[in-house]
């Protein structure tokens, strides 16, 4: 039987909000003040949505949702592998070439292995993966959520007492948070391999010497911190994308704006979080 209130837990975020109307600001201060207030409010809403998605993670285990998870992981990861491969390969090659040319002046070319590996594991691997996924998957999520708002699908879900955060945000959050570390490992591997190619073709460093050097100085900690970063980036991308998508208004224009903002805001937060996480683990 269809019963009201089944599966209902506590208060929940209402996604379908009243349309907002602001009178044009009277002067620059009013404009600035309003921008700051809106920023604070939107941050609060996004965090609240994230909290609610996390609180609903256990629903992921239900039968129907497992198929959904597999689907989201596929969309969220496998489809981006092509771009990631190219970007990772060239990132590794550039790193090897730049450091290699400097190191050659001291006859230390062989140490490009360490340089490439450490930089990729700690910083560039998760960062590049985050940027690519924000631009491809994040923007797609924002566009999809925005379209659903415009076509009243989100409102329809809420009327049917289906919580959009649990139904839409949570599976994407879980999928991308799980997917990001794997994608990052892949980026790291391809990047290190790219370094090896440059080493052997341009710097006279053999594959054996390169890979031996790679493993000598890199620590497990470098890998773990990098993967932790990747997971955080996954959370950031889904939160920003869903929040922006749900906030879409004014038809197709609004969807376009939500997509653009998702990419820009994710980039900025990923950049800043990358720094703070590094500072947290490397004093």
């Amino acid at each position: 039987m269809y019963a009201p209130g089944v599966n209902y837990f506590g208060s929940r975020t209402i996604i379908t909000r009243e349309p907002e109307y602001f009178a044009p600001p009277v002067n620059t201060y009013a404009r600035l003040g309003r921008a700051v207030l809106l920023l604070l409010r939107n941050t609060g809403r996004a965090l609240r949505m994230l909290g609610e998605a996390v609180a609903n993670v256990h629903y992921m285990l239900s039968r129907q949702n497992r198929a959904d998870l597999r689907q989201q992981m596929f969309v969220g990861g496998i489809k981006s592998l092509g771009v990631i491969t190219v970007v990772a390969l060239f990132t590794g090659m550039i790193l090897a070439l730049q450091t290699g040319l400097e190191l050659r002046r001291f006859g230390q070319e062989v140490n490009i292995g360490t340089a490439v590996t450490v930089v990729l594991l700690r910083e560039m691997g998760p960062f590049m993966t985050g940027l690519i996924i924000a631009a491809s998957v994040g923007s797609a999520i924002a566009a999809q959520m925005g379209t659903m708002v415009i076509s009243e699908e989100i409102a329809a879900l809420e009327i049917m007492s289906i919580n959009p955060v649990r139904f839409l945000v949570m599976p994407r959050l879980v999928a991308l948070t799980l997917m990001m570390p794997f994608l990052t490992i892949y980026t790291d591997a391809v990047g290190i391999f790219g370094g090896a190619i440059v080493g052997s073709t341009q710097l006279n460093v053999s594959f054996t010497a390169y890979f031996d050097n790679c493993t000598r100085f890199a620590e497990n900690k470098d890998l773990y911190v990098g993967l932790f970063k990747a997971m955080v980036f996954g959370v950031i991308i889904v939160t920003v994308a869903c929040h922006q998508g749900f906030g879409a208004a004014e038809g197709a224009v609004g969807v376009g704006r939500a997509t653009r903002r998702t990419v820009i805001i994710s980039f900025l937060i990923i950049l800043m979080m990358g720094y703070f996480i590094t500072r947290l683990f490397y004093k």
């Binding site: 269809y2 208060s11 049917m160």
Partner: protein, 254 residues
Amino acid sequence: MIRMEQVSKRLGGRVVLDGVELKIEPGETFFIVGTSGAGKSVMLKHMIRLLTPDSGRVWIGEDCISEARGWRLEQIRARFGVLFQSGALLAWLSAGDNVGLPLRQRTNDSDADIDRLAAAKLALVGLADAFDKLPAELSGGMRKRVGLARAIITQPEIVLYDEPTSGLDPVTARTIDALIDSLRQSLGITSVVVTHDLHSALAIGTRIAMLDGGQIVAVGTPAEFVRSTNAKVQQFLEAQFITKHGNWEKAVAT
């Protein structure tokens, strides 16, 4: 069943509803007509609290939905089925899964039971063979009918329809009319229908209200409505070739 008390609402800096007074009795098929942009959809959205009035109240039976929150609100909303103007189907689910969605998410019924019920509701709206089709593979009118099947699968007390027959061919439109009418006669469901199609309104409506300038300017049974002296109503009727001296009763008799 539904009561709007002095409901006013501003949207985008302009007054859309200006003190709407309305009382809909249980078991009615209540029609709301009005020109495009008059605020009909806005009015419907107030009844399920997709919008909250700036002032005034909306009552569903004994419950004030315009002030309910959290779990109370969910409970009141569970009494409704809603057909949105665009159908509002989820793009990645088949027609059958869309119809079964509320049951799948909110009950512990088996998949087989849900599919059977969804197929039955689809048959009711004349789409028995569309079960496995995705919304993108359906025409606008078919999507709307899938939306209607989804709206009634939870056996709601009240069903809200936003333009159920617009974009449908006249034959299918009359089928939908018959369906709405049979819901009232067999199950006593209260329906609120927003439409431009006066023929539906006159054929199956128990009462018709005209919304203009943010207010209800005329309300009455179909017979009273066509005889209304209100200029706006007359204009609206004449535009659809229905005159008070004409033979509209014959024309819409089904």
